[in-house]
């Protein structure tokens, strides 16, 4: 009997959870980033209510991703979260503001109240997207680790230009994704406004994405080396480029749902590219690669990975089933009712 490589399975599953988070909460955060660009109260409410029933479930992908990382790769969880202490605390605060702003905003009629929570919602979403990107950028680039796998860098070191560019790219990616989502959920005047944004957001994202890729090839030497050793990654990159270019095409054809699927697929392919090149590392150490955390030295025991796999096999189909049902129940254009935010 061939035993499955549990470490590899969990490397993929943790990746799937974080990809799910990016696809789903990505558009929530994107809607948040765009919130202040519409002025009318009704429009802002429609923005909020377009994500109202689903944002909470979407955020669970992050929580579960964190839990899965803890269970499957405790060393990686411990190193990253203690190493990125302040950025993560800021991320948590932004997610708190994002969450409660959705709940509080429309509870009172006062202009200042709604303005305050709109800003909280928007800034919370923006900062969260930015910090997720910065954290991701640092992981890609590699962070200094000592022989005990403890973070040996500084807070300011995390704010390097490369990671900041990744942060900006993430904000633009989510904003584009959010705008495409809004194109599916809005109608009339608001839909026209959103439609007007999409080409510009796609353009901005593409520029930032291109810059980021060029910067990666220049600044992160291991990427080029790995791609040389694993040329099949280039197929995924090619597919990714095609699917990204398909987004403006679908928008042009007036098919926002396909554009949304394309943008989800693009995220999945970006994560796949990352996973295929990064493997078997969990947290790359730079400048001393020997100190890196990998899917072997960061992992829990085979027993725990096996138990967790059983949990995932039971849990994931359930999760997908009710996530799909909820999206089905709340399909179509968003309208405002008495129970809306």
């Amino acid at each position: 009997m061939i035993l499955p490589d549990l470490n590899l399975i969990w490397f993929v599953l943790v990746g799937v959870l974080f990809t799910g988070y990016a696809m789903l909460d990505g558009f929530d955060l994107g809607v948040g980033v765009l919130q202040l660009f519409v002025r009318k109260d009704e429009h802002r409410r429609l923005f909020l209510n377009s994500i109202g029933p689903v944002w909470d479930g979407n955020e669970v992908w992050l929580v579960t991703g964190g839990g899965a990382l803890f269970a499957a790769f405790p060393e990686a969880y411990a190193t990253v979260f203690s190493g990125f202490y302040l950025p993560f605390m800021l991320l948590l605060c932004s997610l708190i503001f994002r969450a409660v702003a959705i709940e509080f905003r429309s509870k009172e009629e006062w202009t200042w109240w709604r303005q305050f929570w709109d800003v909280a919602f928007s800034l919370g979403s923006l900062v969260a997207a930015l910090l997720i990107g910065v954290a991701m950028g640092n992981i890609v680039r590699g962070i200094p680790l000592d022989a005990d796998h403890e973070f040996a860098g500084t807070f300011l070191g995390l704010l390097n230009p490369y990671s900041l560019l990744m942060g900006i790219t993430t904000v633009l990616l989510f904003a584009m994704h959010g705008a495409i989502y809004l194109a599916m959920k809005t109608e009339g005047e608001l839909l026209e406004i959103v439609r007007g944004w999409i080409p510009r957001l796609i353009g901005l994202f593409l520029i930032s994405y291109l810059l980021f890729n060029v910067y990666t090839l220049v600044d992160v030497p291991w990427v080029l080396e790995t791609v040389r050793a694993r040329p099949h990654v280039l197929f995924v990159v090619a597919a990714n480029v095609l699917i990204v270019l398909n987004i403006p095409r679908e928008i042009h054809k007036g098919r926002p749902f396909y554009a949304f699927l394309s943008s989800c697929t693009a995220m999945a392919l970006m994560m796949a590219t990352f996973g295929l090149t990064y493997f078997p590392n969990m947290v790359l150490s730079s400048p001393v690669p020997a100190n890196s955390l990998t899917i072997i030295n960061a992992a829990s025991t085979q027993k725990t990975l096996g138990i967790m796999l059983v949990i995932a096999i039971i849990g994931v189909p359930l999760v997908l089933a009710y996530t799909a049902s909820i999206y089905w129940v709340f399909r179509g254009k968003t309208s405002l009712t008495k129970h809306s935010y």
Partner: protein, 501 residues
Amino acid sequence: MTVEILARVQFAFTVAIHYLYPPLSIGLGMALVMMEGLWLKTGNPVFHNMARFWTRIFALTFAIGVATGIVMEFEFGTNWATYSRFVGDIFGSALAAEGIFAFFLESGFLALLLFGWNKVGPRMHFFATCMVAFGAHFSAVWIVVANSWMQTPAGYHLERIVNGKPVVLPADHVVTTADLTSVRAVVDDFWAMVFNPSTIDRLTHVVLGAWMAGAFLIVSISAYYVLRKRHLDFARASLKIGLGFAAVASVLQMVSADFTAKGVVRNQPIKLAAMEGVYQTAPRTPMTLFGYVDTKKETVVGPKIPGLLSWLSWGSIDKPVAGLRDLPSAEFLRARHPGASPKEFPSLRKAYWPNVAAVFQFYHIMIIVGVALLGLVVIACYFWWRGWLFDTSRPLTRWLLLALVFSVLGPQIANQAGWFAAEMGRQPWIVYGLLKTSESLSRVVTANQIVTSLVLFALVYALLFAMFIFLLTRKIQHGPVDEEDEMPESWKALIRTTPRA
């Protein structure tokens, strides 16, 4: 030392504030199931209005619970990285299971509960309500499993990684500071870990505490309406359901408290001795009703009932409850301090005691508040039975209703105090008898970073708490509105009787 204190304060603060909300969600979730079930069963629109109104309150507590809860998922890694590395193999799976089984269920069906009134039929909506309540309880299951494992670890062994290969350590291996980069606890038996010796007792205790939090919130707001003579049909029906729920939960809580304390006597004798302030091991160990611990003289000042603690602990007044002067045991000390002579034992022991004065107070606050709530519920039920409960012309009824309005604070105080007693009572251990809190910190996190995050969360949580109170007050003032006009036809068809006067 400073980092340890700060890390503990920061964690305690964020988790304590978080814990104001989930018990309300669990308790209210349960109540929503009852109300909506009654609505479907009786067709009485009062129950429909109740379900609608309490859902709005539920939504508020749930939102803040989620917002403050996400912090907790990551704070094990930020504040306690060494702990996370040491126990990740065991502790992580409980957290991951909570995410995949409980949080997805809750958040998915919450969408139907809050926004599905006009989207799905009444039975599907009821099903969604049940699933949300079930998810909230299930989340309590996993988090209490994880915490109980820290109190009474089971189903694991220690292993040392030597050149990338695990070597099993003997069961009596003493974890030293030098071990922490190479030794970890790993799971042997998942179900023994899940059902460790304290899980069932503590889970029951926590869930009943949550039910009380939800029930007394309903009691409080309904009593306020009755007192103010507003929304009377609604308020009376709500008060009855809330009071019934509170009565059941409060009585069961006394039984659960007894089981839980008996478990602590057996599994964590030092914690029990600290909770009761027992220093001297002697037959007929008394129980102190209230008072304070004089830690210098090692005595408790306050009224005592002789033999009660022995009787509650062992069912016999002659069997002594172990006192702190004999804890931890001589064998334990010999294993940990091979060079020490028995003369040094008394001073060595103190390093294994928690903060006795504080644990004593938190534990006693919990018990006093719990008993007071039970007393209040008994009186209220007596009034209900005599038909006085809603007769606001009686001065006694008005006093009782006023007490019920304030009763909402009781479960919150007791829940918080109980957790402080449980967690402080476990000190100096983070995993009882296995790993010390002082050795579990994130080695790379500095005091400045923790202070920064503490200030940040203090400000954010103060704002959140103010908003919670403000919006809750507004919702109460706004009150339940007659929602029948809003009801879809399929729901109106369910109305069978006219509201009771």
